[in-house]
């Protein structure tokens, strides 16, 4: 529907909408997160869901204890290599449409433990992350901002056409390969379909 006509009609007191807008409006206002915390960032996530910051304003206060009922995975904290396969498996068990917020320096990059032998250097190596939040730990306001960013992202998704989101494309994968414990490290070290190591700058 033409935006100009819509705005003109609303001035005359006629409210119009499209299926797409209605669908996205419903989706963006009922993002149920998975009740899932890995480290200290989870404390900030819990604070964000409590009365002072009140995640319920965004329709996201219903932390689900099962991935089958969740729409959003907030990877809140350090993802160790021991934990990474479980995180990916939980993500796989969530029904589409599903979203990921990587919360905090550890979840987006390994953070202060980046040089450690046992910490994954960012969960985006295995699963597609929608919003990254820096900070150690990020304040609840930062998580709220990530929520609003995600809502804006959902709101802009078209229902049809080439730009439609992954869950509406039949060929797009819903499950991502779960890494295995190898001899020295997780195998594979990253999912090439999701993340590839940055190319090294050549000398010439």
């Amino acid at each position: 529907m033409d935006e100009g006509l819509k705005s003109e009609l609303s001035k005359q007191g006629v409210f119009t909408t499209t299926f797409e807008d209605l669908y996205n409006w419903g989706r963006k206002n009922s993002i149920w997160p998975l009740g899932f915390g890995l480290a200290c960032c989870a404390i900030e996530m819990i604070a964000a869901s409590m009365a002072r910051w009140d995640l319920a304003r965004f329709g996201a206060e219903v932390f689900r204890p099962s991935p089958r009922q969740a729409d959003l995975m907030i990877v809140a904290g350090t993802v160790t290599k021991k934990m990474a396969p479980q995180v990916v498996r939980l993500y796989n068990q969530m029904p589409e449409p599903k979203y990921v917020i990587a919360m905090g320096a550890c979840a987006i990059s390994g953070g202060p433990f980046k040089q450690g032998y046992n910490v994954l250097k960012g969960i985006d190596r295995y699963i597609p992350v929608d919003v990254h939040i820096p900070g150690c730990p990020p304040r609840p306001e930062a998580l709220l901002h990530a929520f609003m960013t995600l809502q804006r992202k959902i709101d802009e998704q078209p229902l049809t056409g080439a730009q439609r989101p992954r869950h509406l494309v039949a060929e797009a994968p819903s499950e991502f390969p779960v890494p295995q414990y190898g001899e020295h490290d997780l195998e594979p070290p990253n999912n090439p379909a999701v993340w590839q190591p940055p190319a090294l700058a050549s000398a010439d």
């Binding site: 669908y23 099962s66 991935p67 089958r68 396969p85 479980q86 995180v87 498996r89 939980l90 796989n92 068990q93 029904p95 589409e96 229902l159 869950h167 509406l168 494309v169 039949a170 994968p173 819903s174 499950e175 779960v178």
Partner: protein, 126 residues
């Protein structure tokens, strides 16, 4: 007075149909929507039984120790005893000697059972 020429139960049927439609219509709409727009994407992890991130191991047919039932039974007996004792105690001043003897016999039987269980070593945690 207006004569009602339909069954009063008709209203219940109408309300019932309304209630069922109220529950089923959103489900049907969601199903149609998913059929039209959202492709079905089952998978190995998604269809897994266990949903805590770990893979399920072993068999669901495991055996549990049944010895705990003895504690449960002894607790239950004395729990029920309390239920009998409380009204007895409340009405105590108005009761005769026969009621007192009956309650003493009842208590004696239970205490005897406890002593028997104690002697058998049931109360020792293994």
């Amino acid at each position: 007075m207006i004569q009602v020429d339909y069954s009063p139960y008709l209203l219940i049927v109408v309300l019932l149909v309304g209630a069922v439609a109220f529950a089923l219509t959103p489900l049907a709409l969601a199903w149609l929507w998913a059929k039209k727009f959202s492709p079905n994407k089952p998978g190995q992890d998604k269809n897994a039984i266990y949903e805590c991130g770990l893979e399920s191991k072993g068999d669901a047919w495991v055996q549990f120790k049944s010895e705990y039932y003895l504690y449960a039974i002894i607790f239950l007996i004395f729990d029920v005893e309390t239920i009998f004792l409380l009204p007895f105690a409340v009405a105590f001043s108005g009761l005769g000697a026969g009621a007192f003897v009956a309650m003493t016999v009842f208590l004696f039987l239970l205490v005897e059972g406890l002593l028997w269980a104690w002697q058998k070593g049931v109360l020792t945690w293994k």
